[in-house]
């Protein structure tokens, strides 16, 4: 059964969130392909972007996984990266959006 992650997002950016999540789903495919090819630099770049933007959108978990994957790419640790990308895929599959008030979300996580 898919685990659910309810995330409250800032109303000011709610319209941007579906595309942000769709792009992260595309990142999962990109990262898996890069991992299969041993392209750690492409993987690091994708992870770096994720680390920078996840928290701002209200998804600190995405930033956290991005940071871990960036470090994994630097270490060329394929096993750790495979586990992390699986966790990202599971998170994206289970995330549920709730629109918040628009003032709060600092996005740091």
């Amino acid at each position: 059964m898919t685990e659910k992650f309810v995330v409250e997002v800032d109303a000011q950016i709610a319209s941007l969130v579906p595309r942000f999540l769709a792009n992260r789903a595309a990142d999962v495919d990109r990262i898996r392909a890069a991992l299969a090819q041993g392209d750690f630099e492409a993987l690091r770049k994708a992870a770096h972007g994720m680390k920078g933007s996840g928290g701002g959108y209200g998804f600190p978990e995405i930033s956290r996984l991005g940071a871990a994957m960036e470090e994994g790419a630097r270490q060329r640790d394929a096993a750790a990266l495979a586990a992390l990308v699986d966790r990202l895929a599971a998170y994206l599959a289970g995330v549920e959006i709730k629109t918040g008030g628009g003032q709060g979300a600092s996005g740091n996580g």
């Binding site: 950016i13 972007g49 928290g55 701002g56 600190p60 930033s63 740091n108």
Partner: protein, 233 residues
């Protein structure tokens, strides 16, 4: 404020621009350093938000260019995922005014932008009842302009443009910047409109060297209102 953002991640650029617009700023996003530099040669910005790692010309190189080529002290806020102390020191010693590490917090980002604006142009947003500029007096409460004791008949837009120019004496202002500041970001108006209104204001307010003013048209850029020293008259 009119803010130029250098950010190669589209999602991050969209996010920051959404925050800035909701806070009343205008946001012009560039994915490449050289595009921002090209635009900054003919446009006016109140603040630069620079990401460090972008393809080609990096944020750090853009910062060096800004400090070498833009005469006025426009604040630069570095925004990057780099968090090593030496990176922060390098950015600040290269001329950045502040530094933020991603992931960004909306409220912190907006607060830092406001703080930089207060430091750079402390009087910009202070409410004033009236402002004196030599023979010119602007009555902000009643939205009137007086020249040597005589009220000058002005349209709403002429008044706003006059006040905007007078509050930015000495600054080189691009047509796009003036247009956004006076007519708004969504205004479907040609920049020639700015030229028409500028010409009218120059005449109505007698912004000529004999009266202590010079309203310069700067080729391919915009306008600059300058004070003319008494000795030069």
């Amino acid at each position: 404020m009119r803010i130029a953002l250098l950010e190669d991640e589209q999602d991050q650029a969209d996010l920051v621009c959404a925050w800035l617009k909701a806070a009343g700023h205008s946001c012009h996003a560039y994915m490449l350093g050289r595009d921002l530099v090209r635009e900054a040669q003919r446009e006016t910005f109140d603040l630069f938000l620079l990401d460090w790692e972008v393809p080609g010309m990096s944020g750090a190189e853009v910062l060096v260019w800004i400090r070498a080529n833009i005469a006025e002290p426009v604040p630069v806020l570095f925004v990057t995922a780099r968090q090593r102390e030496e990176d922060i020191v390098h950015a600040l010693s290269s001329g950045a005014d502040d530094y933020m590490v991603k992931p960004l917090g909306k409220l912190e980002l907006l607060a830092r932008i406001d703080a930089l604006a207060r430091r750079t142009r402390p009087n910009l947003n202070q409410p004033e009842e009236s402002i004196d500029f030599g023979r010119l007096r602007v009555d902000c409460r009643n939205r009137q302009v007086w020249l040597g004791g005589e009220e000058v008949a002005m349209t709403q837009k002429d008044y706003e443009l006059a006040l905007f120019l007078l509050r930015n004496v000495g600054r080189l202002l691009s047509r796009g910047y003036i247009l956004e500041a006076v007519w708004g970001q969504s205004a479907d108006i040609n920049t020639r409109t700015v030229d028409t209104h500028i010409s009218r204001i120059r005449g109505k307010l007698q912004l000529t060297p004999e009266n202590g003013w010079r309203l310069l048209a700067v080729y391919q850029h915009g306008y600059r209102l300058e004070r003319v020293e008494a000795a030069a008259r």
